[in-house]
């Protein structure tokens, strides 16, 4: 089993009478990890504790084997952080700022310059990197924020809502960049987001926290396992097919241009095929539906269950 990149034991954070984290035990292996929870669930609090920006009320945390408190400055040479909020000074250029941040992370002046040029290119900032950042668009600012988190080649990268404020195209590019950074350069990524669709596209592992407690942690495929429902799309009379399948003893539901059928053994496929043949409708598609994360959370919210697994 690989060494965990992140391990917390009984992590508690209280603000007065409010408990932001209530005894979090977490152990994560390297990879691209999504951190999901509603606003106020404790995502940012957890990240800030791991970065040493705030102190935990109780408990310990280790990142890549270093204690976040006792070995803070040493650990943070290998950590990158892209905050959710604005953090860029307006009156310096991206080049100047990112190079400075690289030096604060322990790179020599010349190494910092070289890495700055490479990293800004990596995130897609070219000639404009010599201009003052006050004139940048939101998309450009987000790229600089990512660049300053990457410039020193961290071993672990914390991204807090990296697509905040981006338009759909910018969002796609940012997610693509995050995925490539994680997969191709061996950097572990912890990405906090309240948008499940984004997590699903980028992450391999999912951590769900709710009200400061761990709800679930596991590979993303565990969350999106198959549902046991077949979607049958036909070119023809959908309601007739629906009728026929029910008569054949299948549990079926009519939904738009398709019929949803509960998969009850292999026989169902034959019944569907024969029914289409009898009715003379063209069979366009039979698909075994996978659940997406949003469905799962909707179900959970409906049940009102906070079951930890």
């Amino acid at each position: 089993m690989p060494v965990p990149i992140l391990e917390t034991r009984g992590l508690v954070k209280r603000y007065g009478s409010v408990t932001a984290l209530g005894g979090l035990d977490l152990s994560l292996e390297p990879g691209v990890i999504g951190l999901v929870g509603a606003n106020g669930a404790g995502k940012s609090t957890l990240i800030k504790i791991l970065l040493g920006l705030i102190d935990a009320t109780a408990g310990t945390a280790e990142v890549i084997g270093y204690d976040v408190v006792a070995q803070g400055p040493l650990l943070r040479q290998f950590v990158g952080y892209m905050p959710e909020h604005d953090c860029l000074p307006g009156d310096v250029s991206a080049t100047e700022f990112v190079a400075h941040m690289a030096q604060i992370n322990g790179l020599s002046r010349s190494a910092a310059r070289e890495r700055t040029a490479e990293t800004l290119r990596h995130v897609g900032l070219f000639e404009e990197r010599y201009r003052e950042m006050r004139g940048y668009s939101t998309g450009m600012k987000q790229r600089v924020k990512l660049a300053q988190a990457l410039v020193h080649d961290p071993r672990i990268l914390f991204l807090d809502e990296p697509t905040n404020g981006l338009d759909p195209a910018g969002r796609d590019e940012m997610l693509d960049l995050v995925r490539r950074t994680g997969n191709e350069f061996g950097i572990s990524i912890i990405m906090a987001s309240h948008l499940l669709g984004e997590i699903e596209r980028v992450c391999e592992h999912l951590v769900v926290i709710d009200a400061g407690h761990l709800m679930r942690s596991g590979p993303i495929r565990e969350f999106t396992a198959t549902t046991g429902t077949l979607a049958v799309e036909v070119d023809g009379d959908v309601s007739a097919l629906h009728q026929r399948l029910r008569e054949a003893g299948l549990e079926a539901a009519h939904e738009g241009r398709q019929v949803l059928v509960a998969l009850d053994g292999e026989a169902a496929y034959d019944i569907i095929r024969d029914a289409c043949d009898d009715l003379g409708v063209g069979l366009v598609r039979i698909e075994l539906l996978r659940r997406n994360l949003e469905d799962i959370f909707r179900e959970r919210a409906g049940e009102g269950v906070h079951a930890a697994s």
Partner: protein
């Protein structure tokens, strides 16, 4: 390969490589912050408008030295209008202006723009950050307190007919000048940053620093001269007054006739102690502020 138009807004994967070089750690981080802050105190690496105020104030601090050198060169070789201890009296106001204008930028900028979270999630600690900022600002002020005097000493030495005689007459003033220049710079840095760091708002910080230097001054003088008794202690609340008292003590010169230092009647060494106490308290306040500020 670079695309023909690099500004189309797409993300191209061109540059990223893993870094295998040395990581120099916390000490390097602190030094990098120190030099970056020192440069930014004079607006270097920033737009022209950021350079105007610090450079104009620096020029004002140099004016008396330049004026004296000009007079010495044109009129006579034996003119010695400005004494070293007197020079600190001349540059007090430019120093106060520099503190009021620049101290809020030194600490407030990172709070306003929320850059602090990027610093504190890097290879330094909150205390390192506070002390690096303080040291950089003190260094910037040292340029104002000492460089004009260095110019003066060189200029006077060159203007005189007897260079070796000039040096032997004045050498004792050199360490005193350095001691006083350093103390004043560190004191003004610690005091003004202690005030300015309490707020991210530039306007409040500037008013606070101005109040510390300029409003305390007439009030202290009124209390000392008009009330006396316990009112004499007000001299320790006015930076201009206790800085000058400390300078006089360093140069071993007595308080001038009818000056506030004479009227207050304390031994001049007490001003030196006051300066040290202010430096300690100011530095502690800056460190405390950044230990607590949320990032």
């Amino acid at each position: 390969m670079q695309p023909a138009d690099a500004r189309t807004g797409n993300i191209y994967d061109l540059g990223y490589r893993n870094y295998t070089g040395k990581r120099l750690g916390r000490r390097h981080a602190v030094l990098a912050l120190y030099f970056y802050t020192l440069r930014s105190a004079f607006g270097l690496g920033r737009r022209t408008s950021s350079k105007i105020i610090p450079i104009v104030i620096a020029v004002i601090a140099f004016l008396p030295a330049v004026a004296q050198l000009a007079i010495a060169a044109l009129v006579s070789d034996e003119v010695d209008i400005i004494t070293p201890e007197g020079y600190f009296g001349f540059v007090e106001v430019p120093i106060a202006l520099f503190c009021a204008a620049i101290a809020p930028e030194i600490t407030g900028r990172d709070m306003r723009q929320r850059t602090l979270s990027l610093y504190f999630s890097r290879a330094l600690q909150r205390r390192d950050y506070a002390l690096a900022k303080l040291a950089a600002f003190a260094t910037a002020l040292t340029l104002l307190t000492l460089m004009p005097q260095v110019l003066l000493v060189f200029g006077n030495g060159l203007a005189t007919n007897d260079v070796t005689g000039y040096i032997s007459d004045n050498w004792a003033d050199v360490p005193r000048t350095f001691a006083a220049g350093l103390l004043i710079a560190v004191l003004c840095a610690a005091g003004s940053l202690a005030i300015a760091s309490q707020t991210p708002r530039r306007a409040y910080a500037t008013v606070g620093v101005v109040a510390w230097f300029l409003i305390s001054f007439p009030i202290a003088n009124i209390l000392v001269f008009a009330i006396g008794g316990v009112g004499r202690y007000a001299v320790f609340a006015s930076p201009f007054d206790f800085i000058y008292g400390c300078t006089l003590w360093i140069f071993g010169v007595g308080a001038e006739f009818e000056s506030v230092q004479e009227e207050a009647g304390f031994g001049l060494w007490t001003y030196f102690v006051a300066v040290l106490a202010y430096i300690g308290a100011g530095a502690a306040l800056v460190v405390r502020r950044f230990a607590r500020v949320s990032a």
